[in-house]
Symmetry: C2
Subunit: 117 residues, 2 copies
Amino acid sequence: MPRAPTTSDPFNAVAEPRRREILELLAAGEREVGSLVEATGLAQPQVSKHLRVLREVGLVTARAEGQRRVYTVNADGLREVHEWVSRFERLWDHKLDRIKQRAEHAARAAREIAKNQ
Amino acid sequence: MPRAPTTSDPFNAVAEPRRREILELLAAGEREVGSLVEATGLAQPQVSKHLRVLREVGLVTARAEGQRRVYTVNADGLREVHEWVSRFERLWDHKLDRIKQRAEHAARAAREIAKNQ
DNA sequence: TTGACACATACCCATATCGACATATATTCT
DNA sequence: AGAATATATGTCGATATGGGTATGTGTCAA
């Protein structure tokens, strides 16, 4: 069984750096394909293909405007990813807590030493 | 150029559902490989291979305990993913805001109508 | 030491990928 | 109608994938 298609879910779609870049650009506002080609430095066909993937997983929508196509992010599709990753948030928060605790412990110890001098 | 290796970054590593499942299991606490095999229903070699990928991107760490290997999540590697996705949070929040605004607008209109009857 | 157990690695195969390049489709302009 | 422009699609090639199965490696137990 090969790797799951990039179009199978947002996780796979977003695994590709260029597609993340495109989404970032679109997050700042709608853009036409040509504008994305210019901004990314990619060849036009690759941009179109990346956009196709993003469309198929519902991360962007396209609107025709004359001969141009204006693309818009549909960040809603990223909520699934956000929610999944958020389940692990407490784990690195815990780690931060421990660092904080150690820091406070060290500070207390330092005060003790200073007091006893 | 083929798709980027699954080991190239957390985004690619986490694109595979089985690996997400393994991470979820480990999020609840350390586990040995055999336990993961049982929990996932995967064959042992595939579990080992998925764990290898997760190790290579730093999402898990392994500790030898006799002939067993105990795996632990290292959620820190997921922060990058979390931070990236979080950049889009305002976009779906906005959408929620608009829904809320429309609801309030509708409620106001309804009150006006009621008042004028 | 020999065997049993836990895990890792090696190999095979069918498949989807991404980039490059060529070409098709659709729209606007003259 | 024909040319120019904007975007989409098709083809090719090299490559990494993930499951299956077989085998290697290390550890414990008798």
